[in-house]
Symmetry: C2
Subunit: 254 residues, 2 copies
């Protein structure tokens, strides 16, 4: 299929690489930032533009992979006719596209993307939604060419998935940061935590997180909890997080 990528950030980069690898053709890239557009265009060996009026007509699908705030602005910069236009945002309803396009949908690869790290699309869940059954079928074929894990989800479900992702990815990553900060304070390095972090993630592939819960809170071990709270006396923000999460674990497991 001929794909036009609107955006050249982390998601657009990984999506462009995966589409090209699977035999699709990225016919053009648009980005407001010439350097980003040029960099991705050189990776994908395709043309780019920073002028939205110069985007070719005739691509099979226009994939908007810009920041949430920029989606409507980009949509309004051009008339899309009957072209199929999709956005890739977890937290934005599909209907945001309705005033601008006749054929539209959402193509949401559910993963965390950083430009530096190539991800294997094969197992990434791709959540799709579309304005018509025909558009849904088109997106389903496109998604299946990238991944074995396709889900048809509506906008309410997708927003919930995005909210869950904030907990299991963004907040989890910040807890890793907190672990690093705590070790550095006592002259220890983050490497020490890596086997534990990997095991904790690995465990939930086979066991539900509810049944895998360990630690002082699930044992309601107030001695250890109070000792930890005292150790965090100089970090009121961490102390609050510790108390709140412990309390929730205690409530959920009592």
């Amino acid at each position: 299929m001929d794909v036009c990528l609107i955006g050249a950030g982390n998601l657009a980069t990984q999506l462009g690489l995966a589409l090209t690898e699977k035999g699709h053709k990225v016919v053009q890239i648009w980005s407001r930032t010439a350097s980003s557009a040029a960099e991705l265009a050189s990776k994908l060996e395709c043309p780019y533009t920073t002028e939205i009026s110069l985007i070719y007509a005739g691509a099979d699908v226009y994939i908007i992979a810009v920041s949430d705030q920029a989606i409507e602005e980009v949509l309004g910069m051009r008339s899309w006719g009957s072209a199929l236009v999709v956005h890739t945002a977890g937290s934005i309803p599909m209907d945001i596209l309705a005033p601008y396009c006749t054929n539209f949908g959402v193509f949401y690869p559910f993963q965390t993307f950083t430009a530096a790290k190539t991800v294997d699309f094969d197992r990434i869940p791709v959540c799709i939604e579309a304005s018509t059954p025909q558009n849904l079928e088109f997106l389903s074929i496109l998604a299946h060419s990238l991944s074995q894990n396709i889900r048809i989800v509506d906008s309410v479900q997708r927003q919930q998935i995005h909210l869950a992702a904030v907990f299991v990815c963004n907040f989890v990553n910040h807890l890793y940061s907190i672990g690093e900060e705590l070790l550095l304070e006592k002259g220890l390095d983050f490497d020490l935590l890596k086997p534990l972090i990997l095991e904790t993630a690995d465990k939930m592939v086979a066991h539900s997180p509810q049944s895998s819960q360990t630690g002082p809170a699930v044992r309601n071990d107030t001695n250890v909890i109070n000792k930890h709270l005292a150790m965090l006396a100089d970090h009121p923000d961490l102390k609050n997080i510790y108390a709140l999460v412990s309390e929730r674990i205690i409530q959920k497991h009592k």
Copy 2:
């Protein structure tokens, strides 16, 4: 070496299996609970007892792997003479052993253990501390026979490591649980989150968590943050956790 295991829980089980595999001999197991002692004894093909007075003298090391609260009680139930006695607890200072033993130390394999899942000890950091250089050398040899990753840490450092572990393991696991709860509410399953969870953990092997932070908070995207807080209106506990962790990410990255 001849090892006597005091305790038959998750840690004692994994430790007993690893020691046996590496050619050490578990000469005896003690547990207050006969069924646990018998089960582990059958796995390790060794004798067991529930009577602490019947523990053999003459083992090279007595490894206490009972719950934190039970350590002192177990220590007081018997006289240990000049035997080398170690505990395995992250949050308990080494000196707790001093009133009961002449030769003592700490042998703290830094991992999360569940009885059902066999862990590969090879890369698990083992944190050791001892009352004399000779005891430290003995524990170092024992630790090196199990793992390539040995750390000599004092009790203050070990308690900090344990505190960090609560954040990166116990709290992280609870965030996984929260993700599962949120998806179930909208008829979605936890499997959807697994690729994201694994990628988030995998990423920090090569990239520092501070530099890998993604999500609405690090972008200070108040639109998405406020939408998520509104979605959590019926879950005040989750709303508080969301607000507190987001606020810390914003502060750390501004």
